[in-house]
């Protein structure tokens, strides 16, 4: 078991968004989060990544943590493709970026400053970063935004290779990634219900009756 999530509740801006979310992810498995806009996919992924604390529930994560890729790609506009990728590789203690460049077909752009890439090329570079983290668990928030069909294919191939080598991936997306083997979890049923009066655990739920 790489990731276990039990009865998790997440909040955004102090307000409960999702409640009672639970799932597990074994080596070689991928799970796709779905749900309408604003249901809380981004919030859930950030919580699992450890960027914000859960409101309730429990998570089991690999000891070394997960590799997170959000809406923004963490690229420096004035550094070249190679320099950007090398930096992240060194941060994660890796050294070889050539396979990542090859996997996302970025070799031809290697010397180009990131600011001169198109939207999709930037995104491909952002995904190449995942390959140099060496982490087993990937958390991806709408990874294929702006990608054309060929690049979505590259991405799917990279995910498959990652799964085959014993990794796992949790992804939020609205479109079809072409990863038929992945399980799908629709978050709609977990939408948080307003806490019953006096029942919620947080400070904000303890007011009922205070101003009688």
């Amino acid at each position: 078991m790489i990731l276990g999530v039990h009865d998790l509740a997440v909040t955004r801006g102090g307000i409960a968004i999702l409640d009672g979310v639970g799932f597990g992810l074994r080596a070689g498995e991928a799970l796709i989060l779905r749900g309408p806009n604003g249901i809380g996919k981004t919030t859930l992924l950030r919580t699992v990544a450890g960027l914000q604390p859960p409101r309730a529930g429990r998570m089991e994560l690999p000891p070394e943590g997960a590799a997170y890729a959000g809406h923004a790609d963490g690229l420096k506009a004035t550094l070249s493709v190679t320099e950007n990728l090398t930096f992240w590789a060194r941060i994660y203690g890796q050294s070889d970026i050539a396979p990542a460049l090859a996997a996302m077909e970025l070799e031809a752009l290697a010397g180009r400053p990131a600011q001169n890439l198109s939207a999709g090329q930037k995104r491909r570079l952002g995904l190449a970063r995942l390959l140099v983290t060496g982490r087993r668990l990937w958390l991806l928030d709408e990874p294929t935004v702006s990608l054309d069909a060929a690049s979505v294919g590259l991405f799917a191939k990279a995910v498959r290779r990652h799964l085959a080598s014993g990794g796992a991936a949790l992804m939020a997306t609205h479109i079809d990634l072409g990863l038929d083997e992945a399980r799908v979890l629709d978050l709609t049923p977990f939408r948080a219900k307003p806490a019953a009066p006096g029942q919620g655990g947080g400070f904000d739920d303890q007011f009922d009756g205070a101003f009688a």
Binding site: R46, G50, L51, P53, D73, G74, L75, T78, F87, I91
Partner: protein, 218 residues
């Protein structure tokens, strides 16, 4: 951490990275003061150490929002926070990079600008020494302020407002040392205090900064 330090230095020296610009700002503040208060040498000489310290402090201040804001905007900070290096280390590397690209050049540039303000000859060495001891504290305290305001859009002025009161002790002792030096008085006490502030800030503040960033990211 070393990778981060090197990246920040490289970013700063790239076109548009802002290296040299804070030095330029220092130059400009120093130049503006005579335009404001008038060209008389005597008065200028009298206020020179203080103005130079205030100028160095302001240039330092203006470069603070680059420390984290850019990394926040492009998502790097989220990624660094989930990376296998302690956030305290990230903060320390950032503060060091800031000092190397701001505090150090300011220290080296100050004597040249002293000439423009008719700083008395005996004052140059003390001015440089006081800046050398004091600017690391400015960078570390500034990093803390930048960490507090990292979540805010264009928090630049709010950042100034938060950091300036924290800068005041450093400024007082620094300017006092420089002023006494330029008037030929003893400078040991303010210099010792300055060194103490710097040592304390460097030892403690990175923890507070890292905590502030964690709060701001969630």
């Amino acid at each position: 951490m070393l990778a981060l330090l090197l990246r920040d230095l490289r970013l700063a020296t790239r076109a548009g990275g802002g290296f040299g610009l804070s030095l330029a700002f220092f130059l400009i503040v120093t130049v503006l003061v005579p335009f404001g208060v008038g060209p008389e040498g005597g008065i200028l000489a009298r206020i020179a150490p203080g103005i130079l310290w205030v100028g160095a402090l302001l240039s330092c201040l203006l470069s603070l929002d680059r420390i984290f804001a850019l990394d926040r905007e492009d998502g790097s900070l989220d990624l660094l926070a989930t990376a296998p290096i302690p956030l305290e280390g990230v903060v320390a590397a950032k503060a060091l990079a800031h000092w190397l690209t701001t505090g150090l050049p300011l220290t080296l540039g100050a004597p040249v600008l002293g000439v423009l303000l008719h700083l008395p000859g005996s004052g140059f060495a003390w001015l440089t020494l006081s800046l050398l001891l004091g600017t690391p504290a400015l960078s570390v305290i500034g990093t803390f302020g930048a960490a507090l305001t990292v979540g805010l859009k264009r928090g630049g002025l709010l950042l100034s407002l938060l950091v300036l009161p924290l800068y005041i002790p450093t400024l007082i002792f620094g300017a006092e040392a420089a002023r006494r030096g330029s008037e030929g008085l003893a400078t040991a006490t303010p210099l010792l205090m300055l060194a103490g502030i710097t040592a304390g800030a460097v030892a403690m503040l990175p923890f507070a900064s890292a905590a502030a960033i964690r709060v701001n990211l969630r």
